[in-house]
Amino acid sequence: MELETLLLRVIPYILGGVPVTLQLTALSFTLGLLLGSLLAAARIFGRQPITALVTGYIEFFRGTPLLVQIFFIYFGLPALGIRFDPFTAAMLAIGFNSGAYQAEILRSAIKGIPEEQFLSAESLGLTTGQIYRHVIFPQALRIATPALVNELVALVKYTSLASIIGVAELFRKTEYMVSYTFRPEIYLISAAIYLAICVPASQLSKKLETRFAIPGYRRALV
């Protein structure tokens, strides 16, 4: 391929998919975070049958392929009269899926806090709301941050599955270009762009960890 075509046609075209990839990632991550928080809360505070339902939801979305979930929402739900455009369908599927994972991240972060922390706060006379707001959540969020950023980075890559139902994101655009030029090395360009998005995101995780680290925490682990 001539360098000119590559620089002027192929790369700009593929880069045109980046905003869609980022939007899809951001929206499904946010949906997953909201859903995950609710599911984690329901699993911790809820009674039967709510906890059983939540557990079922989490097991279902973690135990079936994301691709199947995307197909189900895009091709399956119209049979029930529920229709989404490809972008919305992909966003919902990835968000619902991520919600299951984020629920588990948040739940295990909360469960990882020693019981004495809760009891100490209770013994001081704090209300349950105050205990969660001032004692449990600030610690749980710090514990959960690396895993949440991990999840965010994973979603950047999962959004490529949306190409299959026709969302014009980064990978869909790559495939157009490959079939148009018959040059499979274009996949490398696409991979490089994903890398350029994901590596800084992982760096962000390290920055956040240092920024919000509990002083002395690392030393305490050693």
Partner: protein, 247 residues
């Protein structure tokens, strides 16, 4: 005998099917220092946690300062704010400085403005020799300093009763002493205390009364010297002998 500050009657508690306390009666008078001893799993820690309902009793009643403990959440929080509680470990909140650890409950529970709460907190820390450590975070401190910080936080609310659940058990021997020194100081102030501990020397020197619990029941109680030196019960004697041979 002074007036009773705390009266526990027929207390039963357990986790699931396991019965941990099988009917405990305990009376603590104002200014009295009671040490609770007993083998691990005997229910002594549960007894302490039941007093401010950190563990919900299954039966029996707890009367603190003339009021039944556990009559509604607001009254329960009110009671808790008059009882200081120090756990074996993980008591301080690691994401706050020592000063904030002590000041936060004063703000949230007593409704003090931040400035006033931090003044009182700084004073409470200074009293226990922790003034310089106020801006430090708990995990930057030694285990002994953390435990003294936890005691300072419990003391800052000026509790009528201080409950300590094995405050030295998680510490290295050389750190135990600094915590024990602190506890001797508090004991001399005449505050009512219940301490679950294996520190027999401390019990002998600082306690008015010793209670021996085994298998969920109070087996023996009485004057500290008498119980520790001339226990009446065979089980008490065996327990003390084992404890002394370890130390």
């Amino acid at each position: 005998m002074g007036s009773p500050l705390l009266e526990v009657r027929g207390l039963k508690a357990g986790y699931g099917k396991q019965e941990v306390l099988r009917g405990v009666d305990l009376r603590v008078n104002r200014g009295e220092k009671v040490v609770v001893i007993g083998p691990s799993g005997s229910g002594k820690s549960t007894l302490l946690k039941c007093i401010p309902h950190l563990v919900k009793p299954l039966a029996g009643e707890i009367v603190f300062d003339g009021k039944q403990v556990g009559d509604g959440p607001a009254a329960l929080r009110e009671t808790r704010s008059k009882i200081g509680f120090v756990f074996q470990h993980y008591t301080l909140f690691p994401h706050m400085t020592l000063l904030r650890n002590v000041a936060m409950p004063l703000q949230l529970v007593k409704g003090l403005p931040r400035h006033d709460a931090e003044l009182i907190a700084a004073e409470a820390l200074a009293r226990l020799g922790l003034k310089d450590l106020a801006p430090k975070y708990p995990l930057e401190l030694s285990g002994g300093q953390q435990q003294r910080g936890a005691i300072a936080r419990a003391m800052a609310i000026d509790p009528s009763l201080l409950l300590l659940d094995e405050p030295t058990s998680a510490l290295d021997p050389e750190l135990r002493n600094e915590v024990l020194e602190t506890l001797y100081g508090i004991a001399r102030e005449g505050r009512s205390m219940i301490i679950v501990t294996h520190e027999i020397d401390f019990a002998e020197a600082a306690a008015d009364r010793v209670v021996f619990i085994d298998n969920g029941l109070i087996v023996e109680e009485g004057d500290a010297r008498q119980v520790l030196e001339r226990p009446r019960g065979e089980r008490t004697e065996r327990f003390l002998r084992r404890l002394k041979s370890v130390v």
